[in-house]
């Protein structure tokens, strides 16, 4: 597994599926709009600075409604998205820690979508593999696949889980 399978195209994938995910939190329309605006800035600029700003903005949105799942989901997603594209950047470990914290917080929310949670957990292990394929590949590849499978079992329409799973299989085949 190498990081070449995780090109910047992944960002486009993640942003494309945002629309489908916004349905999950349709009840938070103003929040959805705020999140959408925040994420849309990454379409113009996907520099490390822009990612950090985006995650910071998402945390401000999260502070507006601490019990809401949506901002936490996107904090984790965007942090991992940055980490998978920049596995050894200076900011990466900090953002992975943000993602881990957001995932832990999501687990505590009763109504959090379990399929999305599994997707994030699979993505987290995938990032760890991309960071150090030799060491972490054997350790975590089954976890990645298990989490994506479970995500799709819980919600067969989870487009992000499906696309990340396909990317992962593609990477495995290249080995």
């Amino acid at each position: 597994m190498t990081s070449r399978i995780f090109s910047r195209r992944l960002l486009a994938v993640v942003l494309t599926v945002f629309a489908s995910f916004s349905l999950v939190w349709a009840q938070d329309v103003p929040m959805g709009v705020l999140i959408g605006e925040s994420l849309s800035k990454l379409q113009q600029d996907s520099s490390p600075e822009a990612f950090r700003n985006c995650v910071a903005e998402l945390k401000r949105i999260d502070a507006m409604a601490p019990g809401s799942a949506a901002p936490k989901y996107y904090i984790a997603l965007q942090s991992l998205n940055f980490a998978v594209m920049n596995p050894h950047a200076e900011q990466t470990e900090g953002l992975i820690a943000e993602a881990e914290q957001a995932i832990s917080q999501l687990e505590e929310i009763k109504d959090a979508d379990q399929s999305d949670l599994c997707t994030l957990k699979g993505f987290l292990y995938m990032v760890r593999i991309v960071q150090d394929p030799a060491r972490n590949g054997q350790r975590y590849y089954l976890d990645v696949m298990d989490y994506y499978e479970k995500a799709l079992k819980l919600n067969p329409d989870n487009a992000l889980a499906r696309q990340l799973q396909e990317k992962f299989y593609e990477g495995m085949r290249q080995q």
């Binding site: 903005e57 945390k59 401000r60 507006m64 060491r135 298990d146 499978e149 495995m172």
Partner: protein, 685 residues
């Protein structure tokens, strides 16, 4: 007109005010200096900024009046200030480092975690299988860890100068009465559980909390894997065992099965040993698991396993023949009730029936049955990031019967236990775990209260130091209870352990000196066992693991020094038990290249003391290779004792030496996934 202009002026002023941008700026520091990446913002808005490399931030807001400014950075306490927004200028914010909570700190003292017991796994099932001399045996793989001793004649776990019976195994929190497959005397016994059953193991060499009891020295709690997400089917074969297993995954549950036949007949023909077998070792085993996620917060796990073992050999003029049936089943339910509260309930049943003909003399007959039901319930409550509490009750219902020719006994008793366990952060970086366990033994109506405590200093993620102390108990073996006229009290051991660990991403160093005092050990006196025995065991364990020297190379080194003496069983005076060796040293290396993983293990143990003399030292150099032949095919081969040294395990009273029945042991096995969408995943277990 004047009034109109005045009103217009006021309205415009108000309008301008509404869209006025109030600047907010300042710096954020901690005790060491400026902090980069701090998210500073006005709560309830998107207005905010991130500090630069000099800790500076600057942004504007259109909010007016009293507002709350917040500064957040992972690992630091949140800063908040509520004041008129106009005053948020030239601010000097100082953040305080956040003390790690109980959930963020995993105290590792005296414990080796395998699998994902904690956040990051260190070893998984494949690592266990590929361990130098394990041949896929979980128990053998654990013997590379410090604190364990080499006792070749039975292969069981002996920890820090304690008997093998002093180490107890738990599956999903439930006790296993006999965790080994049986064999005749002098032959190594394997653990009865496959490493592929488990996602996490936590091998504690002492100082464990109140949840675990009936173990004087150590506990091996293991947690089975979660509900499977996809179907699997696989087979494996070697010169001595054949295996088929699989899993059917349902929407919220999964059903797994496994069947295995072990037969040393073919192997013994190919590689004869020094035994005269009348019936080569044979074991038929079947296992099934059903796991059900009742909801996102509740999981039901069930396991059932059955082993039938038979073996026969000609020895000392008799034809020893042995048969054993070993059944183990458990069911556990874990559910998160909410608000940090978790409920656990479980039941386990162990039953072992053994028959031996010509056990000690030609024509004799030995029959033994052992049975245990373990019931357990526990409530865990997380009150805050600084305080966790758990309390539980359990009951061990035991029955046993032994018949040797015309003599024998039957016994039945139960042991009721309760425990409370509190984990708290006293001050930042200082953690305390205090627990108490109370037990009542039915046959002598004895109560026992055992306090335990662990104090840990965790200044950062790399270093931790702990001191552990506590009292532990265990009922004597059934034979001693029966010959103690049902008055024998529980044996106890007091542990005092100091643990120091330094860990980086690729290097781990741990040093643990310990002292154990044994009390009330069974001692034979005038043909009756009394609780007058005593003893001590002291020593130091050192462990080093490193993967920084060379890419794909992992090295481990472990050294254990043990000095133990005890007066128990039929000993006339205090002496070192026969199973204990003073020095144990292991060195392992694992290197991966391409599709191959090669492992080497060197094991050394100093001689063991017997009444008739001391055995020569034990030495074995073992090698193994794993070939990832295909995503669905794994081939594994190992050769134990490459140098062919004849190791001696025992010296009989007449001075004869008893050692391994074969000098080398060769193993080759192939694991094939017939149905599995995952590569290199063993499909059977």
């Amino acid at each position: 007109m004047k009034q109109f202009f005045a009103s217009l002026f006021l309205a415009l002023t108000a309008l301008c005010g509404a869209f006025a941008q109030t600047p907010i700026h300042g710096t954020v520091t901690d005790a060491q200096g400026p902090l980069t990446g701090v998210n500073v913002f006005v709560v309830g808005t998107l207005d905010g900024g991130i500090t630069d490399s000099l800790g500076r931030f600057s942004f504007t807001t259109n909010r007016t009046g009293v507002q709350t400014l917040r500064a957040v950075l992972l690992g630091y306490e949140e800063y908040e200030m509520t004041a008129d927004v106009a005053t948020f200028r030239n601010m000097e914010i100082r953040l305080r480092e956040k003390a790690a909570s109980l959930d963020e700190v995993v105290v590792t003292a005296s414990t080796y975690s395998i699998g994902k017991s904690s956040q990051i796994k260190t070893l998984d099932a494949l690592d266990v299988v590929m361990s130098g001399n394990s041949c896929g045996d979980l128990v053998a793989a654990l013997q590379v860890l410090p604190g364990t001793a080499v006792v070749g004649e039975n292969g069981k776990l002996y920890v820090r100068g304690g008997e093998s019976e002093e180490c107890q195994t738990f599956v999903n929190g439930m006790h296993v009465l006999v965790p080994y497959s049986t064999n005749v005397e002098g032959q190594s016994q394997r653990g009865r559980f496959s490493p592929f059953l488990f996602k996490g193991m936590s091998f504690s060499l002492g100082g464990y909390g109140g949840e675990y009891g009936q173990a004087l020295s150590s506990v091996l709690p293991m947690e089975t894997t979660d509900v499977a997400s996809s179907d699997k089917l696989g087979v494996s074969a070697s010169l001595l065992d054949w295996n088929v297993g699989g899993t059917k995954a349902f929407r919220q549950s999964s059903l797994s099965f496994n069947a295995a036949l072990t037969d040393l007949g073919l192997y013994t023909k190919l590689f004869p040993d020094r035994c005269d077998w009348t019936l080569p070792y044979r074991k038929l085993a079947g296992e099934a698991q059903y796991k059900w996620e009742l909801s996102a917060n509740s999981v039901l796990k069930t396991y059932a396993g059955y082993d039938w073992t038979s073996v026969g050999m000609r020895t000392e003029g008799r034809n020893l023949s042995m048969n054993e049936h070993n059944v183990y089943a458990n069911a556990t339910l874990r559910t998160r009730i909410g608000q940090g509260c978790t409920l656990f309930a479980g039941v386990a049943e162990s039953a072992v029936i053994s028959d031996i003909d010509d056990a000690l003399a030609a024509g004799d007959r030995y029959h033994n049955t052992r049975n245990e039901v373990h019931l357990k319930a526990e409530l865990q409550q997380r009150f805050s990031p600084q305080f966790k509490f758990s309390a539980g009750v359990e009951d061990y219902l035991r029955g046993s019967g032994k018949q040797y020719n015309e003599t024998g006994y039957t016994l039945s008793y139960h042991l009721l236990a309760a425990h409370v366990d509190a984990q708290l952060r006293i001050v930042p970086r200082l953690f305390l775990n205090v627990s108490a366990r109370g037990e009542r033994l039915s046959y002598n109506r004895e109560w026992l209260l055992m306090p335990r405590a662990t104090l840990s200093f965790v200044p950062n993620t790399r270093f931790q130091a702990s001191v552990m102390a506590g009292r532990y108990s265990q009922t004597p073996e059934d034979d001693y209870i029966a010959r103690g006229q049902f008055r024998l009290r529980q044996s106890t051991a007091d542990h005092l352990i100091l643990s120091m660990q330094y860990a980086t991403a690729r290097t781990l160093v741990r040093i643990e000196p310990y002292y154990k005092w044994y009390h009330r050990l069974p001692l034979l006196s005038d043909g009756v066992y009394t609780a007058e025995g005593y003893g001590y065991s002291r020593g130091v364990d050192v462990y080093l693991e490193d993967s920084s020297l060379l890419k794909n190379l992992t090295l481990t080194a472990s050294y254990s020094f043990n000095d133990s003496k005890r007066l128990y069983l039929d000993y006339a005076s205090p002496r070192t038990p026969e199973y204990a060796s003073r020095h144990n040293f292991r060195l392992t290396a694992k290197y991966g290249f391409g599709k191959f993983i090669v492992g080497l293990a060197e094991t050394y143990a100093s001689g063991r003391e017997y009444a008739a003399g001391t055995t020569p030292c034990y030495n074995s150099l073992d090698a193994n290779v794993t070939w990832l032949a295909h995503p669905k095919v794994i081939v594994y081969a190992s050769l134990n004792n490459l140098l062919g040294r004849t190791n001696v395990y025992r010296i009989n009273p007449d001075g004869t030496q008893v050692g391994a029945t074969r000098d080398r042991f060769f193993y080759i096995g192939i694991f094939v996934s017939l149905k599995n969408n995952k590569a290199y995943d063993i499909s059977n277990f």
